[in-house]
Symmetry: C2
Subunit: 664 residues, 2 copies
């Protein structure tokens, strides 16, 4: 499962160098670091905050605006009863082991995975095969003991590999059996940990002054959307299908967070709940628009066979071949694919992996994860689940609220069926206190039973029915008290509980994976060995769009700097001025690390003829033109209307300062 | 203190009618309503969510972009130690009383306020004066017993009024004394509640699987900004002053939330921490831009005198007259004023109220609240505090992190002062184990003491110093061990802890107050008695900008509807199509309630000549022109570049469908 991560340009990706750069540029930083930090909690500095805002903004346009979804904003604090009903209180847990010797708390699946991977690595070493470097420094540190080069039997190697391929499919008991069977020991102590127990991942608190209302921090935004279903349907003027959406924080008390931004305890989610009629195969009216989009799929059967081979397939074929359950689920998988592409994710590092039976959340009937390949392996960044009618049904049952759609039928539906008609006036006097019970037993009969009862009535003038607790358990009812007849019934309205297709995005994970995908090292032009990091964000996503640099601190440049800044601010383009005394090359380097796609330089020629230069981060090429032409070019690049090659083809190239860029 | 609230047009504001409308249109709704709801928790539906997003967007442009503030995004989960250091664990509390009879939990200041207001009302009734209606239905309900018409002595009336004017200035003990002195009883039981005790308002939880790290949900975003101060200063290339900003949720476990969106337990805050050099009077380099802006001020002295009379004053004069402490604080008060104006707040219903000594948060040295007048009285919507160096100092002291600015001085500072020089080689052998103590005592002397010690050395060849715990408490040090001389000291760098000016916005309170300020009732044209609600949001803030209505369900209209929708979407203007079968008038009414400022109608003339009509919500006037002209007009209105009167003056008026508007 270990992967060798590469940069955008195929260079080996050094996670530690990248992390150091991201912290230096304040993309993110451990929260409460001056207090020693808290595992799994991170703050975003200005570039991270802006990158996050831009991704969320594109998300909102791509999903909410494009499909007129109903965005709502619900509370994080959630009373116990709601999450008890949804099943989270009982089932939203990970399996946790404890080391009896030193008290280490281990997440069971990660523990099994780590030890087996370590043994496989030792086996490779013993066989003299090339062993890939561990990319995740935290993981390396966590393992503590060095891998021992011990050769394993071929059959055992295959067993381990198959276990790892379906590691997400084991429950606690099964993980416990694996630990015993293969004698898996905590590397820190050499001791086998205790059997896995469930640890609920929700943060608990209590609401109100008298501490009488227990509550949790929501583990997902979904429940707030379900509880408002009836109001949203009303707001949508009873039109189906429709989707609600929420962007907000959720909380999971991870057992042992690691891997930086990839497993955190507080995170931003963007979730869609698309409500659809379960009848008619969950078709989607815009499916034809995405039918031909090709996705990379890793289905359930492949994984259960202990393999991880992906298939490339159009989403149209995937739905028609029943690899993906239905059109609506397939539609959203394709839309997710398009979204990831739009924000700049490397699509060769994306796969859609289907959940295995035991792995699926307690509510899901089918589920696919969009996974992105990073230096920590394949990371689940988007989940897309068919939650069926589960949530609406359980909340409706618990509260009595009608979380249903009532639809007037264009053509009334006619049912022909056996119906029971009871003469209540005679029924009471005859059966006395048992009247209601007998009545209920009659009503509860199914079609097959009723057909038999009708026959009895016709043949014997009475029917015999088993009614527990009345007399000797068998009751006779004569034909003057009850009729059982085959009749027509007409329905003009239809009532149903919608099914829910839920695309659910972990914004922080997407953001971190994207950063790895657009990261690369620029060779220094003077052949120096210090690699210079670049983040090639698309201009639409980049935290800052334009760096404005005056050639030097010369006062003549100042009015031009102010003017271009104001012009850009007025059209809503975020720019940053760097008037520091560093060389232009150094200032551009700093902004390469921030992923700023464009640079504008004010130099002595500007003072003479008011022209300015525009630099492309990725190619370091420059063009030169008057201010308005450059501003128009910037705007077209930032909105995504044009690409650099279009601009470079149109405007005169400029070579002047490029020599300076190599200077450090 | 009770006020008669009015609408934008001066009509009496009926809170219940407004609330019903806001819920019907799903601006907001009690969270978990199908589970019976939880006090103080609300969800925002699509219009509320969009209104909130637009206010936040304008806030970001008005403050963050305009002044290049550093936006960061920090975690809500906060470990105990951080909030212990900041003082929140010990001091972030309200005073709470308990009714010994029925267990009612009362917030002490609100309880005192309610009972005294009720007695004053009863006094007015007894004197036969007009009594204003209670506007807040929850308050009315809460009071439970009817006000008794009992006449009070004139002196007592004055006492009560003075207490109410400074109700925010009492601590728990004082509130307890008031309860005893005036025998204040819980109306629900007729019993005097227990003496007030402090109730901490933070929600508590624990972080991690072993429950060993207690934490809280942050009560403000500020601490996350302070903890990152050193990194932010670095990111800002050591330039001072600068500001950080955060937009995010905070949590306060209110004792008894009421008044709808005005007192909630989970809310969105937008906070700025402006770091400024405490030397030089906290000047602000852009103060001249806002010097002449006139604010409505209610200062501390007026309130302590038991009055609530406001003064109108330019912020320039307020700072020069020391009503407001310094320029930077004043600058932000004026910027807050401009922001409220920009989003459409009725500026006749705004005042800036200064905090009284006991009322100020434990960290503040001066603080002003922007209060907005609503049907629940004057509501604190923005706080603007000078937190001095408090937070940075306590965190630096606790953690040892250098939360300071180091500034290279352009001109070195020269100090002439008495300096102590100890000969450590001889000192140790002479004083043995007491050496360090005596040394510290010498170092700790001030300038005045040193001057005397120098004199002793010169005159007696030794000095006498009191050192507790050494010998008999007096130590003699001879001149061969120590020199005390008047010398020059040169400093090339200066180190200081910045002071913090903090404007802090409660977005939900601003939003609700704004809704009351822009709400009014349109008389029906047929003289019907059903008042029709209108929310006159400025187009920049309105949740949806344009309603698109085809005259009828006629299929001919559909292509025009699609075309105009797409055009508007492309330029980022949120529009909503209403193709329902309701009359155009009804459809416009629905959108008046949603505050949609503009309406476009597609009718039979559109099919003939491609012209469409544009309707202004407030005047209900319409103009007619071709599609591109109307789209351009919409864009200029939505960005705030033009007003309706400009558009109406330019484009031909249209009267055609107006007759229909009266039809309901």
């Amino acid at each position: 499962m270990t992967t060798t991560a590469t940069t955008l340009k195929g260079q080996p990706l050094d996670r530690q160098t990248l992390d150091a750069m991201l912290r230096r540029r304040l993309f993110f930083t451990p929260a409460f670091e001056i207090y020693g930090g808290v595992a799994g909690l991170f703050d975003y500095g200005p570039p991270g905050c802006s990158l996050q805002a831009n991704i969320v903004d594109l998300w909102r346009k791509h999903f909410i605006l494009e499909e007129d979804m109903l965005e709502i904003d619900t509370t994080v604090l959630t009373p116990h009863e709601v999450l008890k009903t949804s099943g989270h209180v009982d089932k939203f847990a990970d399996w946790m082991c404890k080391d009896p010797k030193n008290g280490d708390i281990l997440r069971a699946d990660h523990f099994v995975e780590d030890v087996l991977e370590s043994r496989l690595k030792g086996d490779k070493e013993a066989r003299g095969e090339k062993v890939e470097e561990e990319d995740d420094p935290k993981k390396k540190k966590k393992r503590k003991t060095k891998t021992e080069a011990v050769k394993l039997e071929d059959a055992l190697v295959q067993e381990y590999e198959e276990i790892l391929a379906r590691i997400d499919n084991y429950n606690g008991e099964e993980l416990g059996e694996l630990i015993k069977k293969y004698d898996l020991k905590n590397p820190a102590t050499g001791v086998q940990p205790s059997p896995p127990v469930a640890f609920n991942l929700m943060f608990q608190t209590s609401i109100g002054p008298s501490s009488n209302l227990p509550g949790y921090l929501r583990p997902e935004t979904a429940q707030g959307q379900f509880l408002n279903f009836a109001k949203l349907l009303d707001f949508n003027m009873q039109q189906m299908p429709f989707a609600s959406a929420s962007i907000g924080r959720s909380y999971r008390n991870e057992i042992s967070p690691r891997a930086g931004l990839l497993r955190v305890r507080e995170f931003l989610m963007a979730e869609i709940e698309h409500f659809v009629d379960p009848e008619g195969g969950k078709k989607h009216h815009r499916f034809s628009e995405i039918d031909a989009i090709e996705l990379t799929l890793l289905d359930r059967h492949t994984q259960l066979a202990g393999k991880t081979d992906v298939k490339k397939m159009t989403i149209g074929d995937a739905v028609r071949n029943k690899v993906v359950d239905n059109e609506t689920l397939g539609y959203f998988l394709a839309r997710i694919h398009l979204f990831l592409q739009k924000i700049g994710v490397d699509m060769t590092k994306v796969r859609f992996r289907q959940h295995m039976e035991n792995e699926m959340a307690h509510y899901a009937t089918d589920c696919w994860d969009a996974e992105l390949l990073t230096s920590s392996g394949w990371i689940e960044c988007v989940g897309c689940a068919d939650r069926s009618a589960y949530d609406l049904s359980v909340h409706a049952k618990k509260t009595g609220a009608p979380l249903v759609v009532r639809e007037r039928l264009d053509e009334p539906r006619v049912f022909e069926e056996w119906q029971v008609e009871i003469d209540r006036k005679k029924f009471g006097p005859q059966f006395k206190k048992d009247g209601k019970t007998v009545e209920a037993a009659l009503e509860a009969t199914n079609q097959e039973q009723r057909e038999k009862l009708a026959k009895q009535l016709a043949e014997n003038g009475e029917l015999e029915l088993e009614v527990a607790g009345v007399g000797n358990g068998t009751v006779k009812v004569s034909k003057d008290l009850v009729k059982v007849e085959f009749r027509k019934r007409v329905e003009n309205t239809r009532e149903y509980t919608p099914n829910v297709i839920e695309p659910s995005f972990g914004i922080g994970r997407i953001m971190y994976s994207l950063i790895e995908h657009v990261y690369w090292n620029r060779a220094t032009e003077d052949g120096g060995d210090e690699a210079r990091g670049v983040l090639s964000f698309p201009p639409t996503v980049a935290p800052t769009k334009v760096l404005i640099v005056p050639l030097s601190a010369n006062k003549q440049f100042q009015p031009f700097v102010s003017k271009i800044s104001q012009k850009l601010r007025k059209i809503g383009i975020s720019a940053r001025v760097d008037s520091s005394s560093a060389t232009i090359g150094k200032r551009y380097s700093r902004n390469d690390e921030l992923g700023t796609p464009l640079g504008v330089t004010i130099d002595f020629q500007t003072v003479q003829d008011s022209t300015i230069t525009l630099r492309d981060r990725d190619s370091t090429k420059q063009v030169r033109a008057d201010e308005d032409t450059i501003v128009a070019a910037i705007q077209s690049l930032v909105t995504g209307a044009r690409e650099w090659k279009d601009v470079a083809a149109e405007l005169p190239a400029f070579e002047g300062q490029e020599v300076d860029v190599a200077v450090r």
